[in-house]
Amino acid sequence: MSDMALGNEHHHHHPFLQHHFEDLGQQHEASTLGMWMFLCTEILFFGGVLCAYWVYRVMYPEAWAVGAHLQQTGWGATNTIVLIVSSLTMALAVRAAQLGKRGQQLGFLFATLIFGTAFLVVKGIEYHRHWEEGLFPGSHFHWHEHPELAQKVQLFMCFYWGMTGLHALHMIIGAGLLLWIMWRAYKNHFGPEYYAPVEVMGLYWHFVDIVWIFLFPFLYLIHEVHHG
């Protein structure tokens, strides 16, 4: 087969160069662009439910404020910080890959995994509490402090569970991908020439972080609307 159309000599056949690409540069650009395209769809995926959330927030401001006050802000803030740290370690893992430092890379990936898991554990604790308190929408929703707001608060809780659940699902998928990347890093697959998978993993992870950056104020920190 002839790759000579572009006639560049210095590229030896890298083991991870796929047959249909001309060179690693093209392959790298294609993978990152592909992930960006995927993130576009993710933005609209979360954006859809966010739009519904805002429609109702504008309709039922009181219920939304009450709903947010049912959350424990401490846990939410902790989780925000945890996730930001994991984003930092992820970014550093990509950097280590670029520099070809395998040990560092593994360490940072592992740290990312740990923080990601910590996030999920905290979320689990919150879920457990909500479940116990009867804050899961449906037949066993009990929450009577303001009976007249109960329905709309339930609506809020639909969004709470739906949005955080979707986010948590993304975290779980991310954790799975991390394990796979760690395995490849362990096998010493990555280096300055070829680190696209780590980079792409990073893009995904940071995106999931961004989603939470918005979810936190939207679900935990709604300031009460004051009546005159």
Partner: protein, 327 residues
């Protein structure tokens, strides 16, 4: 039977019908000309320049670029005209005349229930007087339906979560189809009925027959049955605001915004009182969600409306019969 009954055009039986038909005819002529023109051009050119031994090659010719501009600009202008015309009709239909006769409709799998302010109720048939604007206020008890009067050229979706209103003015007496136009389950195609357009005097006669009292007076009874009157008294001594004179006015809420006390506001005040709390009152009114059926809700609404116009509770209905006729 087949041939005898083979309409190609629906009868025009409302003031609105001829306006809609005018736009329709205009569009047929316009788009018909354009489409036929394009068809003929394609066939003409394809025949004229068909591939023959002396025409194996296309000629190296590009039509002038000005054509491109023309067929961008001209359609755009035509389209804007269509937009204005269509919107004008739509706006016209959205604005219910003030003197319209009130009728209430409920959609329910799979029937239409109508109530007249004087209390008559009917199912799948609607009696209305000719030459008089009719306003239909409607809600659904279950899924979305759509009340469709083809011969009046109007329809509107009926929603389970709020009141909507539509209007028409029939111009012909007779029987005309009512269809449900939004798919609503098994018997969607059976959710049909007839509108009987009558002379005003006939209509008054019809109204006089069998009724359980006006909607407003039935609403008044419900007002007692649901114990609304324990809080909403006729003077300012109750725990709730006085409802007399409320309908159609602006209400100041506890967050200092104002809302108009229209159908949906009253409905919401009953189903979800805390959504909008009146300034100066405590949010103590209980919700009646799940207790008041759509039918009863409309009666309560009719009652609140009736005491909105004249401050005294309506005992005698203020029938909105045809002008100048005596029941």
């Amino acid at each position: 039977m087949m041939v005898a009954d083979f309409p190609l055009w629906p009868e025009q039986a409302s003031t609105f019908a001829k306006d809609v038909d005018a736009l329709y005819i205009f569009l047929i002529i316009l788009t018909g000309t354009v489409s036929v023109g394009i068809f003929l051009t394609i066939f003409g050119l394809a025949i004229k320049y068909r591939r023959r031994p002396d025409n194996e090659l296309a000629q190296d010719y590009e039509p002038p670029k000005i054509l491109e501009v023309t067929w961008i600009v001209v359609p755009t202008i035509i389209f804007m005209g269509l937009f204005v015309w269509g919107s004008w009709l739509y706006f016209h239909l959205a604005r219910v005349p003030d003197d319209a006769l009130d009728i209430y409709a409920t959609g329910k799998q799979w029937m239409w229930k109508f109530q007249h302010p004087t209390g008559q109720r009917e199912i799948n048939t609607l009696h209305v007087p000719v030459n008089r604007p009719i306003k239909i206020t409607m809600a659904s008890e279950d899924v979305i339906h759509s009340l469709f009067f083809p011969y009046f050229r109007t329809k509107m979706d009926v929603l389970p979560n709020r009141y909507r209103s539509m209007w028409f003015q029939a111009t012909k007496t007779g029987r005309f189809h009512i269809f449900c136009a939004e798919y609503c389950g098994t018997l969607h195609s059976g959710m049909i009925g007839w509108v009987e357009v009558m002379e005003p005097t006939e209509y008054q006669k019809w109204l006089a027959g069998g009724s359980e009292g006006s909607m407003a007076s039935q609403g008044e009874q419900l007002f007692q049955k649901y114990a609304c009157n324990t809080c909403h008294t006729n003077d300012a001594t109750g725990r709730g605001p006085v409802l007399a004179g409320l309908y159609g006015k602006d209400v100041t809420l506890s967050n200092d915004t104002t809302v108009k006390a229209d159908d949906n506001y009253i409905r919401e005040s009953i189903l979800n009182p805390q959504a909008k709390v009146v300034k100066g009152f405590n949010p103590i009114m209980p919700t009646f969600q799940g207790q008041v059926s759509e039918d009863d809700m409309m009666k309560l609404l009719a009652y609140v409306k009736s005491i909105g116009q004249n401050t005294a509770p309506a005992t005698t209905p203020a029938p909105a019969g045809a002008k100048g006729t005596n029941p």
